[in-house]
């Protein structure tokens, strides 16, 4: 049974001027149990919207979303979500942040803390238990966010450009660590990114969305062997071949999305160029 399934899903939002904006149009996709699926597409193609629909934070305007064969109705606690921006609680220490999930779910305090210490060790933050988020680097805060989500052992893990704000080196290190952590609990993952390299390095399959309103343009299997080391995998000739193949599909969409943004800001942009 598929861990995640979207069936002909459309999502529209009301805009400020009273109109509607279609983020996703008639999109269908499935992610198998334990599969790592990356979703790529140009800016504004509705990548993040797919995640909010799977998580139950939003509901579709048409079509159906299933997690573990059951239709999604509201937030499901079997789903983990790693946000693009920092969503760790700034007023909680690292230990309290990581133990928040088990505590919310009714685990008693000492057990929750023991679990949290274990996960803090797994993400390599031992010794930082008492720090507040503002005392950590961006990469360390991401580790806290990962531990905070994974401690709940989600069956479905949703990630919205989680490493987008990190520098390039930290980003590839974190990606490798993500793969190691994923291997420990093997949830089904939907990883949204605009970075095709990141998507190929991490995923079992890559889904390319069209420029908004988003729908599936093409799907590619990635046959690179695991375990992978993200820092080095891009030199593999198979990686390069795969990249070329997928870029072929993605290029037109990126061009299309870019053309739209440039025409819509042209009156202002023209002055900048001059």
């Amino acid at each position: 049974m598929a861990a995640i399934e979207l069936r002909n899903v459309t999502k529209k939002f009301a805009t400020a001027d009273g109109g509607t904006f279609t983020a996703l149009k008639d999109i269908s996709l499935t992610v198998a149990d334990g599969q790592f699926c990356a979703v790529v597409g140009p800016t504004g193609c509705g990548k993040s919207t797919t995640l909010t629909l799977i998580s139950g934070l939003e509901s579709p305007s048409a079509g159906e979303v299933f997690v573990d064969g059951k239709p999604v109705a509201g937030i499901d606690t079997g789903t983990g979500f790693v946000f693009q921006q920092d969503a760790v609680f700034p007023w909680k220490s690292v230990l309290d942040n990581v133990s928040a999930g088990p505590l919310f779910r009714g685990v008693d305090k000492s057990a929750a803390r023991a679990q949290a210490r274990d996960w803090i060790r797994r993400v390599g933050l031992s010794g930082f238990e008492d720090r507040y988020p503002h005392q950590l680097s961006g990469g360390m805060r991401k580790r806290v966010a990962l531990a905070q989500t994974l401690i709940n052992r989600p069956r479905v893990l949703l990630m919205d450009e989680p490493f987008g704000a990190l520098d390039v080196q930290t980003r590839s290190i974190m990606s490798t660590e993500l793969l190691n952590l994923w291997d420990q609990t093997r949830p089904a993952v939907v990883f949204v990114t605009h970075d095709l390299e990141e998507a190929i390095a991490l995923a079992d399959n890559v889904i390319v969305l069209t420029a908004g309103p988003g729908t599936v343009k093409a799907e590619f299997q990635i046959d690179l062997p695991r375990p992978r080391v993200v820092q080095e995998i891009r030199f593999d000739p198979r990686f390069v071949a795969t990249y070329e193949r997928i870029w072929e599909a993605l290029r037109d969409e990126v061009k299309e999305a870019y053309a739209r943004t440039t025409t819509s800001v042209a009156p202002d942009g023209a002055r900048d160029v001059a």
Binding site: G80, F81, D86, W91, F104
Partner: protein, 274 residues
């Protein structure tokens, strides 16, 4: 670094020297103007007379008992009313911020209540509850409540959507979202409102005493006014200012303690001066 440090202390010394100069020019000018009869000390008093009035009250007592008793009475009214007003404001603000239907129902009433001159209620309370503590405490509560309420309400509405979504996905109930996310987040706003609110508390206590009482600083002001003792009125003002500054100091300490998790803010240095 060292050079910068020295520059900083030099600047600091200059600021302090200028501050002392301003004080000396102001008080000295006032004293001099009064002594040379440029202004009439009968109407505008003079610093030395105000000071000797405070000394007289402190050593020989006032017409209505010892000075410390008057201060304690006013402080008691202000403190009790302040605590009740703050608690009520915080609870009401968070409740209305979290529960949409409550906000919709009460919004017009709160707008009306906020726009009437609430200080007038003092007269009503004196008649209904007599010259004692109750009438003053009620007036203080009415004055303190709204400032705290609006800040708590706004603070609740401004909570980062990502943090709320994250807490829900981690398994937090609605109540847990309120206590673990909304309240710590809104506390920044609430604490900011306490500075102004304590000023209102003192005003409420003094006006309440002024309207009808047999003890307290407000009563002392009234009897000084009745005797054309302008030095007495100003002496009470000075004493009130000292109380307010002490309270301000304590609130700032509390704020630092409760907001330890916050990164150092640029504005903090300026606030410390105030």
């Amino acid at each position: 670094m060292k050079g910068a440090g020295r520059m900083w202390t030099r600047r600091r010394r200059l600021v302090i020297a200028l501050q002392v100069t301003v004080l000396v020019v102001w008080l000295g000018g006032w004293e001099l103007a009064a002594r040379t009869r440029v202004i009439d000390p009968f109407f505008f008093s003079q610093p030395s007379a105000v000071w000797s009035q405070i000394v007289t009250w402190a050593t020989q007592g006032t017409s209505q008992g010892s000075l410390s008793e008057q201060i304690m009475v006013t402080l008691e009214e202000a403190a009790i009313g302040f605590v009740i007003g703050v608690v009520a404001g915080v609870v009401a603000g968070i409740a209305l911020g979290r529960i949409r239907i409550l906000a919709d129902v009460f919004a017009p009433y709160i707008k009306v209540a906020n726009s009437i001159p609430r200080i007038v209620l003092g007269s009503l309370f004196i008649v209904a509850f007599g010259l004692g503590l109750t009438s003053k405490v009620l007036l203080v509560i009415v004055l303190v409540f709204f400032g705290v309420f609006f800040n708590a309400f706004q603070g609740t509405r401004e909570v980062d959507r990502n943090l709320m979504a994250n807490a829900k996905l981690l398994g937090a109930s609605r109540w847990k979202v309120t206590t673990e996310v909304v309240m710590p987040s809104a506390f920044t706003w609430i604490l900011a409102s306490l500075h102004v609110s304590f000023g209102f508390a003192i005003i409420g206590a003094i006006v309440g005493e002024f309207l009808g009482s047999d003890r307290g600083l407000g009563n002392l002001i009234r009897s000084a006014q009745g005797n054309f003792n302008q030095s007495g009125v100003l002496a009470c003002m000075v004493l009130t200012a000292v109380i307010a500054l002490l309270a301000e100091f304590l609130i700032t300490r509390l704020e630092r303690r409760l907001l330890r998790w916050r990164p150092p803010q640029h504005g903090d240095a300026d606030l410390a001066v105030l």
